[in-house]
Amino acid sequence: MGPGCDGATIGSESGIGYCATGRAQFDCPVRTFSGQLTNHNCIDYNRTPPEKTFAPMYRYDNYDHQMLADRVAQFRDQTNRFLSGKLEDSEFLPLRLQNGLYIQRLAPMLRIAVPYGLLSSTQLRKLAHIARYYDKGYGHFTTRQNIQFNWPQLEDVPDILAHLAEVEMHAIQTSGNCIRNTTTDQFAGVAPDELEDARPYCEIIRQWSTFHPEFAFLPRKFKIAVCGTKIDQAATQVHDIGVYLVKGPAETIGFRILAGGGLGRTPVIGQEVFKFVEKQHLLTALEAILRVYNREGRRDNKYKARIKILVKELGVAEFTTKVMAEWAVIKDSALTLTDAEIARCKGFFTDPNYADLSNEPAELTRHLQANILFANWYEQNVRPHKMTGYAIATVSFKETGVAPGDVTDRQLEHLAALAESYSFGEVRVSHHQNIVLADVRQDQLFTLWQALSSQALASHNLGLLTDIICCPGGDFCALANAKSIPIAEAVQRRFSDLTELKNIGQMNLNISGCMNACGHHHVGNIGILGVDKKGEEYYQISLGGSSKNEASLGKIIGPSFAQEEIPDVVEKIVNVYKAQREPGEKFIDTYNRIGIDPFKESVYAKVD
């Protein structure tokens, strides 16, 4: 039982009870819908370290809870003042945005933060509850590891935030001109090639950036990604700040920090500002960059206000000089991280109780030989784990006919149960809008796959052409020039044959409905951008983008196309690749070798 809790349950939501202290009763094994729980056990947030039968995750203490409760109360008051006409629309706007609330084409949209993509089963169930009671029964995973709901009512939002607070979730700074959710590689902590787990540093950055009083009204939004793996899956170089864990002098691990990356109208790869920073100086280094940006970033033109424009206009050398001047003043201030704090945050992310297992157990080999569909899924969606006998399984949310990233309340609950059975009660959202079960025993992969199949979650197209990244587009978003979901679906329908998809191999296609680039079209091997041409929806195609370590930005192939032409155009591009590739060569490598012209010729060839 937690402090201040008398054991009585005052309510139950989505199977989770809560007591008079307002805390959720996570540990209760028996759930009823009458609101009464037996074996009551309100969690004590001061208890550390977390139990290791659960996957590692940051757990709130009383400070974190207090701040969240204060935030919910604050936003409730702001919403009431707005609804009663005491707060003007333009003055409410940044307040609601900093609580993740947009006014969309059809209804408000609420974007909920999933810090660096981690979700527990309890949190998944809470999201299912919100989808069911406050939305139309589904949510949408975004390209920044968050989840958003497209149909809540404005007056319900404070209640939704209160629900989220029960499970240590919120919508803080998921929008607005402030520091957004910090993202990382979805394989952090389990990747075999990792230098160091990035999650403790993501959490340190999350706390520093949450309610930062100086940086709530930046010139524009600000996104930070941290990467500790050798293969960068976090698109780190196209963030406003990209942080890499690297080895420095004398083999010590610290950070290399880039600034000025970004997508949007002017896509740019970030440039190095700090070659190597010792760990304790992480926050002062970030604060120095933010301060220079807050002071000098352009505010005269929304489209030139991102940090990438400042770095470009000043030049990286001049920008770095200014950052270093600022850093010199604050470098050894109280903001300097202590060893104790780094150790505390690392303590939340130590390994769960892995069993002592060996690789390629007989159960796995047998089913791989016996079941071709399972074997296909295994080949595409399962990746090696740092622990022998374990694997990383990715659940593809790219079923044809379903908007990429969309998830129903039932699927969320199903994922929660699967995570509990197979992956220490935790999942991760990837920036490709898929869900990762990071700690699956190899001898349980087959039963996991069966359970996924029963809920239409066993698509085995991970990393293939139909694993499309796609923004909500003109169907939902007020900013969009064009629809994006129907484009994704049309391409998925054209390439529905798995043998052919596998023959095409690793290739990614990203779709954005406008140049804000939420669908990361610049870094798609094939990028599709919705444009407005005299009131008509058209699509511009670019080729050769990549968000991997050798990040590159796609090149526009030529004049744009009508919606119905897109599947043909994609097919022509694929055909050029197939005809020109050398054995084993990926699309991006063929493209880099032969250039854009052969593709151009094929796509724009006159038919006689």
């Binding site: 400070y63 701040m67 003055e91 520093w208 309610f211 930062h212 709530a216 009204f217 109280a334 704090e341």
Partner: protein, 166 residues
Amino acid sequence: MPKLIKDGALTPDRWTVLKEASGPEVLRALPGKNLIVPFKFWKNYQAELKDYAGGVAIWLDSDENVADIGEPLHAFALIALNFPKFSDGRSYTNARALREHFKYQGEIRAMGDVLRDQLYYMSRCGFNAFDLRHDQDENLCLQAFSDFKTGYQATITEPLPLFRRR
């Protein structure tokens, strides 16, 4: 009637803000006041201001940098920082620079588009006086300073970050 909150309480304002001033003749027109003059005006007319029979303080707009005030900074009892729009966040950085870089001890006053929902963050950045926009409810504004009981960052009101306190 202007509404000023200083150090957490409503306070009568004994200062007059000179929003725009083209030349030193304004000093003769307004003798014996306590004037908050534009930073540029102060730079241009330091000699005239020295002879002024009244208090002199300065205000900086959001595109000006407190680092340019130089050594005389500590002679001012008050430095005001303007918010041309509440969503222009540059004056937060100027306030922190005054307190942290220059150890300025005097009054830092927020002026311009100063609204209830920004007061808490302003106070954490070193502002201790708030010249509220005329339509703001001063009693609602007084509550703003307790929106949150604590924060994660190292700030002026809590010099240690939470990780050194928790």
